[in-house]
Subunit: 461 residues, 2 copies
């Protein structure tokens, strides 16, 4: 426990002090066919320009001071970044490197007047998982030592021939770096924590005619000042071609599902579809709250159809319910893709879901009551109307009391929204939406009771 | 922020390392009329023996190692404590002081072989607020220095003449201690953090013929080794007489209400009554979950009465509803009084409350429908049935998303359980429970919407 707080302390220390230098000075010619003259850092990736995505990712890992080195098309990039930094209250400095064409080592040198002893270096065209970056930021930094995040998963395939390779020796010291190494055991991810000693190394390399960052790293290696931080199975991607851009989209989408929260239908049916929809929504910059509202609207339309006595309308309503269930995954996905996930959005969406289900239950009940006008029709409807809300309520209350989510046991799965909406869809296809709804309502109340009994039983055994 | 983690760190360090010595060797003659021969440490205070209350309070402040010094009636106390320590998996050592009659200084000396450099000293008959103790445990401990928790609220009244007084000088150094000081600015609470140097001070005092702890403190004062930790408005109580015991009960009860959670009716009507009931329940050792179940049972009985068409039964049912509302405060209060507050109990109680309200709504609706058998009677009932659950749901979800409780604004107050049960009680008295319930149901849905609008508006302004 004490050790955990120590880690927190060290970690926060880093969060407070680390600056990030981001190099986006190159031309990125291989992407020009897609850009129509737009500079590469401003090309949108799922609705957000590449450079902004990298800034937001770094911020998510705890960085709050940015130094952006620009070169090619620096006016366009600078004006865009200035406007963004102002809007987001970001501590961001833009440095122009007039020598950008001679090599990326000169762009790192351009940041020299502005950085502390250690600083984070990122490439303007490498996207990555913020979680791994925040792990990297936690390493103990030695004076006169630089660190490189090294991906040991060297079977990455088709792009290997153009990747910068690393040979890592004992104690994680880097022994060699280059594109054409014969012996290597890791790949350079383009993510570094550099000590200021890198600047003299770069100057020495330039004296020898090598203007690249790799040249500077080779100088550091000669004095054993470059240490690797090896990782495996980490999401990152270097974007050079239109193919890379699509690959990056897919990698970002793959990060989205939360298997620890999803129900069975959600995981196997809804997510695969909602992820593709989210890709389109994110590209178009659709606001997640708009998606939440559309889900509610679909529920209302379905409820109106259920309220009719025309049974084939029930079928269409059932299909709408399943579409709403799929769309319901998109708001959270798009919010995370667009870095717009906020507590309000989640709160708003959750309550809209409950109201949507309530309206649906009322529609189905009214429709059936018009056919069978008995007193027990509205009475039985109390089971689903209250059960659907209470199942979710029981889980939230557990989360608040125990400070962790309710375990994913069978009673949890059986009382989840994705399953009940799917069953209502099935019930509607077979013209029995009311009875299906009542059955799930009864099952849900059973689940609620079993959720209690399971926990009680566990704490006694 | 960093400073906060530092504090946490220091705090946890203390939690892990501090031992508590508890002196309960005295005879406590002034309580014998109440005890019928039972030794004072075993006298129950709101259902829990005095010494156990002190152990549990210290544990709540983070102490996990106990050394109990016993004297008078040591067999009875030891066997009780051993059984308790075994049941609660407590690290507890019992030390017998054969010289207990000569003075409480000898009881402190008896603990010498078992303690570290610094240890906490508590009196077996002083109850206190664990929160202040955990503050006290956080002070920076200097070598060869002992600390005393000093209450600067010297206007405490009737018991002042028998209290041990303190004269505190510059830098919180204690200048004098004793029962009969003319000049004093604080009172000894009987809570100390002592350094091992206290043992030689006690021996020196005993050589001079003073066998009391105060004698040892006077020796420490001569070498400036006693520092006060002054506090004000802190709940503590020295229990010597039956009057003290009742005062301690009142003080403990006064700690229970949570003004940041209570609604208006709860604060001004329900709490004053429920606290007196909780006093009785705690004395009798009634399990809090039993109280939660009784509240549900009362709701069911009230619902059955509401379901009749006899309007005077509605009136009685309304009174039962208000009684249930008052009793509903007791489960939490008794749980805290008996140190039995567990996540499961809170979770269980919350869901029983929701089911109770649901059954109540169904009873009221059915009763009214028997008089007025129209289709809109069950339809309107959807407003309260769903509103009552959703209002609570909205608050819980807010708490989970924002990591803090929903602010206590007017919409929060208007949608709380205490108010709606009170209004249903009023409605029943005037024979209109159904319409009152519908009105509150509508109001509650309005409140839910306003709770969202308020937060949205705040985040934009």
């Amino acid at each position: 426990m004490l050790y955990y707080w120590f880690l927190r302390l060290i970690h926060l220390d880093y969060l407070i002090s680390m600056q990030a230098v981001i190099i986006c000075a190159g031309k990125g010619e291989r992407l020009t066919q897609l850009t129509r003259g737009k500079p590469k850092p401003l090309i949108p990736l799922l609705g957000i320009p590449l450079i902004i995505r990298i800034i937001l990712n770094a911020r998510a890992a705890g960085i709050d001071e940015f130094i952006i080195v620009v070169g090619y098309a620096h006016e366009a990039i600078s004006s865009y970044l200035k406007e963004f930094a102002h809007r987001e209250h970001l501590n961001l400095k833009i440095v122009y490197n007039p020598d950008w064409q001679s090599g990326n080592g000169t762009s790192v040198l351009a940041a020299e007047p502005y950085v502390d002893d250690h600083f984070l270096l990122l490439m303007g065209d490498h996207i990555f998982d913020p979680q791994v970056l925040s792990q990297f930021l936690r390493i103990t930094r030695q004076p006169n030592t630089s660190y490189i995040l090294a991906d040991t998963d060297i079977a990455k395939g088709d792009k290997l021939h153009e990747a910068t390779k690393l040979q890592i020796g004992p104690n994680n010291h880097v022994l060699n770096i280059g594109k054409h190494l014969h012996e290597f055991n890791a790949i350079d991810t383009g993510i570094f924590i550099l000590h200021r000693s890198v600047f003299s190394a770069l100057r020495k390399s330039i004296e020898h005619g090598d203007y690249t960052l790799t040249g500077g790293m080779l100088q550091l290696i000669q004095t054993s000042q470059l240490v690797a931080f090896p990782i495996h199975g980490f999401m990152w991607c270097d974007i050079d071609t239109p193919t890379d851009l699509r690959l990056a989209e897919t990698l970002l989408l793959r990060q989205l599902p939360k298997p620890q929260e999803d129900g069975i239908i959600s995981r196997h049916l809804n997510r695969p579809i909602s992820l593709q929809l989210s890709r389109l929504f994110a590209r178009g910059g659709v606001h997640p709250n708009l998606i939440s509202l559309s889900v509610l609207l679909l529920s209302v339309v379905a409820a109106v159809m259920f309220a009719s006595t025309t049974t084939w309308l029930w079928m269409i309503a059932g299909i709408l319910v399943q579409i709403a269930s799929i769309l319901d995954g998109c708001d959270g996905e798009v919010a995370r893709l667009l870095h717009k996930a906020r507590p309000f959005g989640g709160w708003f969406d959750t309550l809209l879901d409950r109201y949507g289900e309530l309206i649906l239950c009322l529609g189905i009940t009214y429709g059936y009551w018009r056919v069978q006008p008995y007193w027990w029709v509205p009475l039985l409807a109390v089971l689903p109307i209250t059960g659907f809300i209470l199942a979710s309520y029981t889980r939230k209350e557990y989360h608040l009391r125990y400070n962790k989510p309710y375990p994913l046991n069978v009673w949890n799965y059986l009382s989840k929204r994705d399953l009940r909406l799917f069953l209502i869809f099935l019930g509607s296809i077979f013209f029995v939406p009311y009875w299906m709804m009542i059955a799930i309502g009864g099952l849900t109340h059973l689940c609620i009771n079993m959720m209690f009994i399971t926990i009680r039983w566990q704490s006694h055994s």
